[in-house]
Symmetry: C2
Subunit: 392 residues, 2 copies
């Protein structure tokens, strides 16, 4: 539907599109559909009791501060906490470099706003996180997909990205591919990026959700001046709080802060104080391992189901953390065309083509193992396999 | 400080600036300064007990829903509430036209993102709300200031704005001028805007804070297809929740929603549910009159103090609602140059020049009467008057 006169849309509006995932989720919210499409954390992991106590304490001890306008930078003690926490992951930063955002999605928007000009080039992984493409697109970049293997972007292919405003990378248990970049690939990638003067935007929503061993230190720890780092509380606490952060090299901080101020003045102070109250005494040290154990069991259930049911010619790599399996169907299979048939049978996935800036691999799909219980995972994968066999 | 290589900033970053108000507020946070500069609601009006009960209930009855990812449009029952509430103010809208935002500041950003091209023209009032200029500026419009009198934009001057993407107007107790547009001016303004095909962006954060009589129905009620309307819970509940909304003509809704999705996925569901829980049974009907009574008393205190202390040649109109007095100093006085001397004496205000897109009137200043108690208002105005007399 076009706007009736007198409205005239900005050119960038043509670059905005409904999220295909949200469109799929609408269909799959029908009762009876086993949806492996969503990227929703399991609500059983939400620390409701701790949240309740923290909310009570904040509204008892500092209600006026929590409910008043607050600094655009974020709540001081929470910024300190983030800086400390990152130090423990090998990333030494000052709290003054931490900007609290309304979810890490807002971090993507602010970085895009400050760094992307219409017609400038932005490099992304192949495949890449759909929400990042949506955040950047309104700033009208030309996207360049950097070829990747199971270990992430190929350093030699990085030459292609010379002159890009930045390379957006998600090194830990990437959404959608589930892959985790090795230490040696990180070293090579950063060395190459430094050599060609290519800044990096490192997104890390899933790094804490490792099953066997923690991922290697972040890219940002290897190049302090050349990497903007994004983090989130959505996967270790709860996404409905919309709490994330940007950690930027100091010269970028003032403009990111001004962009933040213009965007929503500040992230809700109440949420920031409640989360700080929950985590300040080491809560996550006990809580996050319970999420890992749960997700690992569900990962195992999905692995077993895939091995049991999927027809020959399908490939996947077992993720060592995060939330997703990435499946390659036999060459020539179109996952998007397959979806309605899978839904008819009672299950849903996300076609992989949604996750490419260009040259989509049509025979790929993403499966989440975290929202649905193991017995339903088993049944959902069986239905997917049946659909596949039937359509071949 | 410029970014070191390899960072290259987007051109729009040059249009972002630190908020002069926030810079002033930093100075005036020194203990002992009577600050009439802030635009902060009085924290004594925050309904802490109701918030505490509502948070408890939400985390008891629907914790998983409140803490999970949620719809970008906002929480259904809250959207319904907003549509009902606006109906009571003469604005008939469907809940599907209501988009919940992270404060109404985000509404300004989203409208700018969807409607402003670099080099396109945007009309604003003179003076106008500084935060709107900051939200729009990164989209690189040319601002056009429409001449105003004490009743708002002059309809005959609207010709100048023909071809602008929209006119941004704040009809109720405007920040900074405190003026409220009469019913007849609203009728004239909308008729003229319709005649020249000029869309309107109507911002209404202060409409509920009337002292004598409610303001006339919104501009949007007079031109459903031509007005985007912004509302906020910051002044009637608490700003730290960051909760506002955009109500748009239906053809604009899909793009605003996509812009919202890209910006932060959705406004925190927890906050939306808590606020809905607080207000759903008519809480504001009893609560808002207590805010009005408090602010009216403080307005009266400031009026009395201004009459008692200010030297001849100063002018102001007594606001009939909202939070601000707008003072014109004698011709030739520079309020910005006066500020450090006032701060030295122990009080602060915001120089009016901050609120103009162009051609600032240097002899103007804004005073807030809501944050500071009546006896301090009296003392603060006395200090301002002394500073003025001393510098003349």
């Amino acid at each position: 539907m076009k706007p009736t006169p007198p409205w005239q849309m900005a050119r960038r509006a043509a670059r905005m599109n409904p999220s295909i995932i949200r469109e799929i989720l609408k269909v799959t919210e029908r009762p009876g559909i086993i949806s492996l499409a969503g990227g929703l954390p399991s609500p059983d992991t939400f620390p409701v009791a701790a949240m309740r106590e923290a909310s009570e304490r904040v509204l008892r001890d500092s209600p006026k501060e929590a409910l008043q306008y607050a600094a655009s930078e974020g709540y001081g003690p929470l910024r300190e906490w983030v800086a400390d926490e990152l130090g423990g992951h090998g990333l030494q930063v000052d709290a003054s470099q931490v900007l609290i955002t309304t979810g890490s999605q807002q971090g993507l928007d602010l970085v895009g706003k400050v760094l992307i000009d219409a017609g400038s080039r932005v490099a992304v992984e192949s495949p890449t996180y759909l929400g990042a493409l949506q955040a950047f697109a309104p700033y009208e970049p030309e996207f360049l997909s950097v070829p990747c293997d199971d270990d992430g972007p190929l350093p030699d292919a990085l030459e292609l990205a010379a002159g890009c405003r930045f390379l957006y990378a998600l090194p830990n248990f990437q959404n959608p591919s589930g892959r985790c970049m090795s230490a040696s690939r990180r070293t090579e990638l950063v060395a190459k990026a430094q050599a060609i003067g290519l800044p990096l935007l490192e997104d890390n929503p899933y790094g804490d959700l490792w099953f066997d061993a923690p991922p290697p230190p972040p890219l940002a720890s290897r190049w302090h001046d050349g990497v903007v780092y994004l983090g989130s509380f959505s996967k270790v606490l709860a996404p409905g709080l919309r709490l994330g952060y940007v950690v930027a090299p100091k010269p970028l901080c003032p403009k990111l802060l001004q962009a933040k101020q213009a965007a929503d003045l500040h992230t809700p102070g109440f949420n920031q104080r409640v989360v700080h109250e929950v985590i300040r005494n080491g809560f996550l040290r006990d809580h996050v391992p319970t999420i890992r154990a749960r997700y690992q069991a569900q990962r195992d259930a999905m692995r077993a189901a895939l091995e049991r049911h999927m027809p020959a010619g399908c490939h996947w790599t077992v993720p060592r953390g995060g939330m997703f399996f990435w499946v390659e169907l036999p060459e020539g299979t179109d996952a998007l065309a397959l979806l309605p048939h899978a839904v008819e049978r009672g299950m849903a996935f996300v076609p992989g083509s949604a996750f490419y800036a260009d040259h989509p691999k049509l025979n790929t799909l993403r499966l989440s193992f975290v929202t649905v219980a193991p017995d339903l995972i088993e049944h959902g994968i069986a239905l997917l396999a049946q659909t596949l066999k039937e359509r071949q």
